[in-house]
């Protein structure tokens, strides 16, 4: 008797909890693989989402997470047939992968959103078989940054705005000899983005391609170059996750990283730093353009509510706030014409200089690897660890990793990324 009474209390309690949950129906779950570092998350919640909540009364629950839990969440929701994630934001290349995992997406034409014109090229990138699967959200790239003190040690005749990899090596060497410690830093920690430099910057600049020439003689000379460079790269690079902190601490004077991960240093002391395009190699000045999109899973409970959040997040005013606060660039013509000030002007100018360089070579992230998308970058990073950090034979490592890379594309039937 006693038991059944406590049981009924329990039932009542759970019913109450359920009702409380149901009454707060005006809540959107927003999952994002972007704005994951804790400062960016805080900025996003307070400066980007809070105005939306204040204006509409709709609560937004932002879930910033790594790619794997993000994919697992959406896969699990797709299996139950009920999506709890209303809106999600992630890399351009993840959307086809999500489609392949059984997460359907069908969006209206982004250009129908009032008060903005999306850059047409980006809208097209968000389509698969003519169907819009994401709304272009933000753009980003990777740049070089340097403490102004380092400029005194530039090799003779080198122009920081049109640097070559050979000059970067000499510069790093000069800095090492002058200061007694390695002053070039690269984000090669486990969560750092150095892998992007390998496949999207160094490989195309030295071999003309990301994948096709993986184990060519050109690639061997690239790895020899990197090995030589590494003597003048700060040894903590293997644990750096972002370059803003080491730049601020002056552990390093010259660095390469994602615009959003250089931003905090530049914003703190805009007068101490210069920003400039990545170096050029024999085949050109290769760089990656990162595009992020916003999607809504098909079959979400309240599509209009979710669409309102996308409306807010891609509004030119919001995009300017995001640019000012984080260094992610806008996708609408209106916001792109906004001229930022101070630190963000440095970032914007360097991005423009990189994109319009006469020897520019645009690298795109691979599309179509589906569930095995995560294996692409580690193939390059493992080669780096074996060759540079452990001193293994270049040809042997490239033969092994090259076979893995080709197998990845053969198994998935994906096209090689550009170039």
């Amino acid at each position: 008797m006693k038991l059944s009474r406590s049981f009924s209390v329990l039932l009542l309690l759970s019913a109450l909890v359920f009702l409380a949950g149901a009454s707060a129906a005006q809540t959107l779950n927003f999952a994002s693989t972007q704005f994951r570092p804790i400062e960016e998350q805080q900025f996003f919640r307070e400066q980007v989402l809070a105005p939306f909540v204040a204006e509409t009364g709709i609560q937004v629950n932002m879930i910033a997470e790594e790619y794997a839990p993000f994919f697992s969440r959406l896969q699990a929701e797709a299996r139950t047939g009920r999506f709890e994630t209303d809106v999600f934001g992630t890399l351009h290349g993840d959307f086809p992968a999500l489609l392949a995992e059984g997460i359907p997406m069908e969006l209206p034409d982004p250009q129908s959103l009032p008060g903005r014109t999306f850059i047409e090229e980006l809208v097209k990138l968000g389509q698969v078989d003519g169907q819009q699967i994401y709304v272009p959200w933000t753009q980003a790239t990777y740049l070089m940054a340097a403490n102004k003190k380092a400029l005194d040690y530039l090799p003779e005749g080198a122009d920081v705005g049109a640097l070559t990899y050979a000059e970067l090596l000499e510069w790093a060497k000069n800095l090492y000899e002058a200061t007694g410690s390695a002053k070039l830093g690269l984000p090669a920690g486990p969560q750092g983005l150095f892998g992007r430099m390998l496949h999207g910057y160094l490989y195309p600049a030295f071999t003309g391609h990301q994948v096709q020439k993986f184990d060519s003689p050109d690639a061997v000379s690239m790895w020899s170059y990197l090995k030589e460079l590494w003597d003048y790269v700060h040894p903590s690079s293997a644990i750096y996750e972002n370059m803003a902190d080491p730049l601020l601490l002056e552990e390093v004077w010259v660095a390469w990283d994602h615009t959003a991960r250089l931003g905090p240093a530049i914003r703190e002391f805009p007068d101490n730093f210069v920003l400039f395009p990545s170096p050029a190699g024999p085949y050109g000045r290769a760089f990656i353009t990162v595009i992020n999109g916003l999607g809504i899973p098909k079959g979400v409970q309240d599509f209009d509510l979710a669409w309102r959040l996308i409306d807010h997040l891609t509004h030119p005013e919001t995009q300017v706030i995001v640019l000012e606060g984080t260094g992610f660039f806008p996708t609408t013509v209106e916001a792109a014409s906004y001229v930022p000030q101070g630190a963000n002007k440095l970032l914007a100018d360097a991005v423009a200089a990189q994109a319009s360089a006469p020897d520019a070579l645009v690298s795109l992230l691979p599309v179509g690897l589906g569930a095995r998308d995560g294996e692409y970058v580690p193939t390059f990073k493992d080669a780096f660890e074996a060759i540079v950090l452990r001193g293994q034979d270049i040809e042997t490592v490239l033969a092994r990793q090259g076979a893995r890379l080709r197998e990845l594309f053969e198994d998935t039937g994906a096209d090689y990324p550009q170039p």
Partner: protein, 288 residues
């Protein structure tokens, strides 16, 4: 009769939440992990993930580092914890305060502990600033880099010893307090020195506690993760961090599962060997 039945029922009822928890969050995932480690992407049985795991460039290091760290951390912890437990058990002045201070790291997550020690060991960290201000070194020493693996290991060992020794100490202390005073008094009457008392009376009677402390610490040492990720990145791979890396960064849950399974097999083997090697006879339990 009815009362006894009731009692039995009650005990099952009290056990039920724990059991349910274990089944839901331990046993079910365990079965899934075993399945995942042997399942091909498209379905069907495969050993390909294991082949990939054993030929991965990080695997030999991960295995070696996991064992090396356990070998370095556990004996140090055992000795330090035993000494601390002896001191605190003396119930001298301030021993309660000492107990509390000693137990502080218990309340800190392993990731936070890693961050604390990162702020000490990083190039512009507290250690280098101190040494530089005292004039011992001219320029900062780099502890956490691929060029000084011995420092990386040392940093992780120090962090782990600092963080998890209190756990061993608490287990040993409770064991010490179970030892009946009569044994020690008897030893004293026979003229035993302090060291003889420790060696001949305390240690043998403490064996059950040492055994449980060892089992717990070894399993936890195999799982060491937070300090590794913070202090060494992937420069010092261990089995647990590789499992995480394959899951979260590479998004390959199959190889991540294989790593997890390997870790479990290792833990089971070690636990089993402790149980066999440190078997305690009933009369050694020391409870009167």
């Amino acid at each position: 009769m009815v009362r006894i039945l009731r009692k039995v029922q009650l005990s099952y009822l009290l056990l039920a939440p724990t059991l349910l928890f274990l089944v839901l969050f331990f046993f079910v995932p365990l079965v899934q992990v075993v399945g995942t480690a042997f399942r091909a992407r498209g379905g069907g049985f495969t050993l390909a993930h294991w082949q990939r795991l054993f030929t991965d460039i990080h695997f030999p290091d991960a295995l070696k580092n996991t064992l090396l760290l356990a070998l370095l951390i556990i004996p140090a912890q055992l000795v330090l914890a035993f000494l601390a437990a002896l001191i605190i058990n003396k119930q001298g002045r301030g021993s309660t305060a000492l107990l509390y201070i000693y137990a502080i790291p218990l309340g800190i997550s392993d990731l936070a502990a890693g961050l604390i020690w990162l702020s000490i060991f990083t190039e512009r960290g507290y250690l280098n600033s101190l040494l530089q201000n005292l004039g011992f070194i001219e320029r900062p020493i780099l502890y956490l880099s691929s060029r000084s693996p011995q420092w990386l290991v040392a940093a992780v060992v120090i962090t782990e010893v600092w963080r998890a020794t209190p756990l061993v100490m608490v287990i040993l202390l409770s064991g010490l307090q179970m030892i009946a005073k009569d044994y020690l008094e008897a030893a004293e009457i026979f003229g035993c020195s302090w060291w003889q008392k420790v060696r001949l009376v305390i240690l043998p009677l403490l064996k059950p506690s040492i055994q449980s402390a060892l089992i717990m610490r070894t399993i936890l040492a195999f799982q060491v993760f937070g300090p590794i990720v913070v202090l060494a990145g992937r420069l010092l791979p261990v089995l647990a961090s590789e499992s995480f890396h394959w899951y979260a960064i590479i998004r390959h849950e199959y190889i991540a599962s294989a790593y997890a399974l390997l870790l479990m097999v290792l833990s089971v083997l070690v636990t089993w060997s402790y149980l066999v090697l440190l078997r305690t006879k009933e009369e050694q339990l020391g409870v009167m």
